[in-house]
């Protein structure tokens, strides 16, 4: 049946047998068909056919963030973009890379390394994560604390609208105010407005030196006093990440490092030229010691990379774990920490804080061990509390039964306008229906 609808699509890029479909399940829903386009014409054709017949599409990159939305309300076609995996242009002198959406982050970095350059988007699982999926989900890793998100480095893109037309926005230059910024609109739209088919990105030079100073503290007071001392100095760490005991132990174990024994650990990332990094290291070590640190370490080279990779990837969570992303005004993460630690929570929460951008990741491991009500009531209470401090909570991942009870997305300003944009851009609601709006 689907084959008839997709009349312009060569059969060899279509999968419709059981075994082939089972790799594309989203929140317990299985697509009727998988299409694996090999070029942008295929993409346009699939969408045109689907659009004219009202069949819904969920776009797949590496699948690393496919769980970060509400369950879909329709799912006819899985559009797997991994076959569009060419780097179209790389201009090291211009610090410009143009790529198809299915290229993995690792492949990009392998290409860039020859010129001592890198992609500042470092989402989890870069060997699987594609640039298209990263941009569509506005996914990021620890580089965000100094380099920003996709909205800061993507220069332009092309996307296919429900009529199957290829639309261009932005360009390849660093500064651009020519027309409305559809690029920014597409970034973080989770494939609900159009399907991204080409991306231009500004890349970055690899810094001379990268170094981590890690330190352990007995309590959150000491931890936060340490951080505010850094803020009050002229040191400019590229990242400051706080981990509770359990989280730090897990990332250390995964990277083969013996963890320091403290209730709270802080990882400060330093990068730049040697003198500046060394000078900052001294300041940070001094501030740590002055705030009762229980241990201080310098980590560099391979170990640095391993530790940060496992911070980025978040330890293997397992299907029944829950990850919440809490965003608050930049210096109010303390209040959330305090709330969790001092309240009598019925669930155990592991905490990782990106201090420089006011974001906490709260992880409930093995959520099935708790009664359903307990988990949901925790999510609701942290949501209410966060709203009071001017922030919001998204559910980054959770088992389907949890998502049935709580919305992945928070109440958030402008949702009505977003709905209108969705209606205008995708009147037939074929792109990832129900996943965001």
């Amino acid at each position: 049946m689907m084959n008839e609808i997709l009349k312009n699509i060569p059969p060899e890029i279509i999968i419709d047998h059981e075994a082939g479909l089972s790799g594309y399940i989203v929140e317990e829903l299985r697509p009727k068909i998988v299409v694996k386009p090999e070029n942008t014409e295929h993409v346009c054709d699939v969408i045109k056919d689907a659009g004219s017949t009202g069949n819904s599409i969920i776009t797949w990159g590496g699948g690393t963030r496919i769980m970060s939305c509400n369950p879909p309300t329709g799912y006819d076609i899985a559009l797997d973009m991994k076959g569009l995996n060419n780097i179209i242009e790389y201009d090291p002198a211009e610090f410009l890379l143009i790529a198809e959406p299915g290229v993995t982050i690792d492949k990009i970095n392998t290409t860039l390394r020859a010129h001592r350059q890198f992609l500042s988007l470092n989402p989890p699982l870069p060997e699987r994560a594609t640039i298209g999926g990263t941009v569509a989900s506005n996914s990021w890793g620890y580089f965000r604390e100094s380099y920003g998100t996709a909205r800061d480095c993507i220069l332009g893109l092309k996307f296919v609208n429900p009529e199957g037309k290829m639309i261009k926005s932005g360009g390849i230059v660093a500064k651009n105010v020519t027309g409305y910024d559809l690029t920014r609109l597409m970034i973080g739209s989770f494939g609900t407005l159009g399907i991204i088919s080409e991306i231009s990105v500004r890349i970055s030079p690899i810094p001379d030196v990268t170094l981590l100073v890690t330190a352990g503290f007995p309590g959150i007071e000491e931890t936060y006093n340490f951080i505010s001392e850094i803020y009050n100095s002229h040191a400019v760490p590229s990242g400051i990440i706080i981990l509770d005991r359990q989280s730090y132990t897990m990332v250390c174990e995964k990277s083969g490092i013996v963890p320091g024994e403290s209730d709270f650990s802080v990882i400060c990332r330093l990068e730049g030229i040697k003198e500046t990094v060394e000078w900052q290291k001294k300041i940070i070590r001094r501030s740590a010691a002055a705030n009762d640190s229980e241990w201080i370490n310098d980590i560099y080279g391979e170990t640095e990379k391993k530790l940060m990779d496992s911070v980025r990837d978040n330890p293997d969570l397992g299907n029944d774990s829950i990850m919440l992303k809490v965003a608050v005004p930049v210096n109010r993460t303390y209040e959330i920490m305090h709330y969790i630690l001092s309240g009598k929570m019925e669930v155990t929460i592991n905490i990782m804080v990106y201090a420089k951008c006011g974001i906490l990741f709260l992880c409930i491991l093995n959520s099935d061990q708790y009664g359903k009500g307990e988990v949901v009531s925790f999510i609701k209470s942290i949501r209410a509390y966060t709203q009071n401090v001017g922030g919001f909570v998204n559910i980054d991942s959770a088992p389907p039964h949890v998502k049935k009870q709580v919305n992945v997305w928070s109440e958030y300003p402008g949702m009505n306008l977003m709905k209108k944009i969705k209606q205008k851009f995708d009147p037939g609601n074929i792109f990832s229906p129900g996943r965001f709006l």
């Binding site: 201009d91 002198a93 010129h115 001592r116 506005n138 920003g148 909205r151 800061d152 609208n161 037309k165 639309i167 926005s169 360009g171 390849i172 230059v173 660093a174 500064k175 651009n176 105010v177 020519t178 027309g179 409305y180 910024d181 920014r184 609109l185 973080g188 739209s189 407005l193 030079p205 001379d208 002229h234 040191a235 400019v236 730049g272 030229i273 040697k274 003198e275 500046t276 000078w279 900052q280 992303k325 965003a327 608050v328 005004p329 930049v330 210096n331 006011g358 974001i359 919001f392 997305w409 958030y412 300003p413 402008g414 949702m415 009505n416 306008l417 977003m418 944009i421 851009f425 709006l437």
Partner: protein
């Protein structure tokens, strides 16, 4: 509009905003006939000065109900005719909404009304070691509302990003009169980036009545110097080599030969007038390591045809240099009664070729073109000098400027990096975008402003 109708509209506006908040006499209205792009003019029917979002909302509903176009206006320093009533109508001036409402040092944001001037934000927080980083040269005069609408840039936005990278949230009056909040005071967003969309929407989506802007720390120190170059190529190659070496200066501003004499006279500088280009370079960061960086940078400059370097010895010298750069076009006033500032972008490595093409275009049209621009971003600002009294010189300037924009696009660049499209460049949009691309953008305009009374006649080429 008939006189009697007009009278009743003015009365209607007065009843919303107050007797003294509406200008309608011909003489006063002339002040509003243009923005910073003085060659285009359109006189509004009246100007109204609301003081609150509620008043803005009432005005918008009232004008829409009467099918009258309305145009938001900040300081009127725009350079693309963005706030001109090209289809007639009422200008809504936001200049009386000029309070800083909240400063949160701890969480590094400020909430300001749209009429607050760009530099006022930094002035209010610099004692705390913070600043609002977008620094258009018009910072002493332009408003935050105007900066957002144009997504303004400036010399220092190369490293820290343009306006959109520093706006976290806002309050907007939509064309249906709804007052909505967008974004928040966090650095994260959920879903579609409406705050990002508002930036650079040139006052065609809604009227910004409040903005939450990000404050970032001032660096411990700056190192500012001028490289004197024998060639433009040398200066541009320097930039590429600096980036390759992992050095990101805060600013890289190139000034070409045409300017130098005028700058020496106007600002008491001593640039050698036989140099081909001067590049202002600025580094920022911790004091420690700055000496090493300076050596590295100067080595790179010397390897790339720099013949001399002038280092700003102290903060006064730095300030003088930046004043010179930011007010550079004023110095051209000594050479010409009129000038037309263009704004285009090319891939940075193609700047030497672009500047060569600009010289050829100047020759072809027999005009003088001066260049002072954000070289690190490839964002050119050719200034085309002319005298309206000289027969067809303005026509030649317009033709030359069109050719410059075409060349930018040919080289893979675009027709505006920071000044916007407005009414000035809408006819060039088709150089960059297809009809489908433009239709998609129009869809977005339709979501915000289905009836089309907000700032009509901008961005999109006229249908013919």
């Amino acid at each position: 509009m008939e006189q009697w109708q007009f009278g009743s509209i003015i009365e209607g506006l007065k009843s919303i905003a107050g007797e003294k908040s509406v200008l309608s006499d011909k003489e006063s209205l002339l002040t509003y006939e243009s923005d910073g792009l003085t060659m285009d003019t359109a006189v509004p029917w009246a100007v109204v000065f609301p003081v609150s979002a509620e008043q803005v909302s009432e005005i918008v509903k009232y004008l829409t109900g009467n099918k009258i176009p309305y145009i938001p206006r900040g300081a009127g320093t725009g350079l693309s005719g963005g706030c001109l009533p090209v289809k007639g109508g009422i200008v809504i001036s936001l200049t009386r909404m000029n309070r800083i409402l909240e400063i949160d040092i701890e969480n590094r944001f400020a909430i300001v009304e749209p009429g607050v001037l760009n530099e006022e934000v930094t002035d209010a927080v610099k004692d705390h070691g913070l600043h609002f980083s977008p620094d258009p040269s018009s910072g002493q005069a332009s408003t935050i509302g105007g900066n957002i609408a144009e997504n303004a840039g400036g010399p220092h936005t190369m490293k820290y990003g343009v306006t959109v990278n520093h706006v976290l949230g806002m309050e907007v009056v939509l064309p249906d009169g709804d007052i909505v909040e967008l974004g928040s005071s966090t650095l994260e967003t959920q879903g579609y980036d409406l705050v990002g969309l508002m930036n650079g929407s040139e006052g065609t989506f809604g009227i910004v009545t409040k903005a939450i802007v990000k404050l970032i720390p001032l660096p411990e120190t700056y190192l500012t110097f001028c490289g004197i170059y024998n060639s433009v190529d040398g200066a541009v190659n320097t930039i590429t080599q600096l980036f390759k070496a992992g050095i990101t200066p805060v600013a890289l501003e190139l000034i070409d030969k045409v300017y130098l004499k005028g700058l020496n006279e106007a600002f008491d500088m001593d640039f050698p007038t036989d140099a081909e280009a001067v590049m202002i370079m600025e580094l920022d960061g911790p004091e420690e390591g700055m000496d090493t960086l300076r050596e590295k940078v100067i080595d790179i400059c010397r390897e790339n045809d720099m013949r001399d370097v002038q280092i700003a010895a102290d903060s006064d010298a730095r300030k003088k240099l930046w004043t010179t750069r930011k007010h550079a076009t004023a110095a051209l006033g000594r050479m010409t009664p009129f000038y037309y500032t263009q704004d285009g972008v090319v891939p940075r490595t193609r700047l030497p070729e672009m500047l060569k093409r600009i010289r050829e275009i100047a020759r072809k049209y027999n005009i003088t073109i001066a260049n002072a621009f954000h070289a690190g971003d490839g964002n050119i600002h050719p200034v085309l000098l002319y005298d309206e009294r000289i027969k067809d010189e303005k026509t030649r300037v317009l033709a030359a400027s069109g050719e410059i924009l075409e060349t930018c696009v040919e080289m893979g660049g675009t027709i505006s990096g920071e000044h916007g499209i407005g009414s000035e460049k809408k006819k060039y949009m088709k150089l960059v975008f297809t009809v489908d691309d433009l239709e998609q953008m129009k869809d977005l305009k339709g979501v915000f402003d289905p009836e089309g009374f907000l700032n009509p006649g901008k961005i999109f080429p006229e249908e013919n």
